[in-house]
């Protein structure tokens, strides 16, 4: 499964009102190219912090589902975030780790996730639902289980999706950072009012 396919699979299952935080680099670029939305917050810099931003959101908006699209390089840079999330355990947080065992955005340098069992760390810190998948079919099943309307799985959930290398040419996120923020905030305030 390529990263692009994984993001397509995940976004396909979204109902549309979930808040999505994407890690910097190719993950944000691919999400932008697959499904640009006012509900997306593309993190352009601040590598490592996608899960922290998602955590702050999910704590503050317990009635909204928050989806984090994280990468192995990002998560390894801020492993403490897993502990903080595990401790507070917001049930509305769904944390995807798109794990290609490398820093693909900077040219494919290896990370350590080929041997380190990140899903076991997630389990140990207190994520309530932890899954590891390596094919599109498995991902589809897990995503529909967790996001599906007929199930009320307790979060926080952690889904580690092993990703093969291989890139699709995608453009950079063309929105200005302040536009991304304002659009996100405006969309949320409309939602809160209605």
């Amino acid at each position: 499964m390529r990263r692009y396919e994984a993001i397509e699979e995940i976004t396909k299952e979204l109902k549309g009102d979930e808040l999505v935080i994407s890690a910097n680099g190719k993950i944000s670029r691919e999400l932008f190219s697959i499904r640009d939305s006012a509900c997306n917050f593309y993190m352009l810099g601040s590598m490592g912090l996608a899960s922290s931003i998602g955590f702050g959101l999910s704590l503050s908006l317990p009635y909204k589902r928050v989806v984090v699209l994280d990468g192995d390089g990002n998560l390894l840079m801020n492993l403490g975030s897993l502990a903080t999330i595990g401790h507070f355990a917001p049930s509305n947080l769904l944390h995807f780790l798109l794990d290609n065992e490398m820093h693909a955005s900077t040219g494919g340098q290896r990370t350590v996730s080929s041997k380190v069992r990140l899903e076991e760390i997630a389990r140990a810190v207190g994520y309530k639902t932890v899954k590891k998948v390596s094919s599109v079919q498995e991902l589809r099943t897990v995503v529909s289980e967790i996001l599906g309307s007929d199930s009320e799985r307790e979060g926080p959930s952690f889904v580690l999706a092993k990703i093969e290398s291989g890139e699709r040419e995608v453009p950079r996120v063309s929105h200005e950072p302040q536009f991304i923020k304002k659009r996100f905030l405006t969309n949320l305030s409309n939602f809160t009012v209605t």
Binding site: L44, S46, L49, I53, F55, G56, F88, Q178, K181
Partner: protein
């Protein structure tokens, strides 16, 4: 001197409703009072840049967040301030303790103590040192709140030992 209680109550009255950070002995009274006496949410982060990420998420959810840290931890946060907080204009209030002020401190604090204000000014974070006199301290807080509300910029208040007791 401003009492811990007055300072914390003023923060609450100004609408700051979400707190996160990494402790410092200079800020211990403030952190304890906010979370225990005022029952405001305080999230202990593992690192200062993580705290800034959490606060950014809270801001995106409509909260008015405060990040508390020691100036040594501000060193850990420069990249995050530059490529997240200033880039997107996230108006966070940063309460930063000033270890190493005037070179009188443990050796690990001296260099950052000398550079704290300069670093903030250099990257474009408005910064104010909290004055010792109570009335002036209130004015400083008001100024910071004004920058946050009107210009949507992160703003730092630098706190020396003994200014809030």
């Amino acid at each position: 001197m401003t009492s811990t209680k007055d300072f914390c109550v003023a923060l609450k009255e100004k609408g700051f409703d979400f707190y996160t950070g990494v402790p410092c002995s200079i800020l211990k009274g403030v952190i304890n009072y906010l979370s225990e006496d005022l029952d405001l949410p305080y999230i202990p982060a593992t690192r200062e840049d993580e705290a800034i990420g959490i606060a950014t998420g809270a801001y995106l959810a409509g909260k008015k967040p405060v990040v508390l840290m020691q100036n040594s931890g501000m060193g850990n946060s420069i990249g995050t301030l530059a490529s997240l907080v200033l880039l997107y204009e996230i108006p966070l209030l940063l309460l930063i303790s000033w270890r190493g002020f005037q070179g009188r401190d443990a050796p690990e604090h001296i260099l950052m103590g000398k550079s704290t204000l300069k670093l903030l000014v250099e990257i474009g974070v408005p910064a104010r040192v909290l004055p010792k006199e109570k009335e002036k301290a209130e004015e400083t807080l008001l100024e910071a709140v004004k920058i946050i509300n009107e210009r949507s910029l992160p703003t730092a208040i630098i706190i020396k030992r003994g200014v809030i007791e």
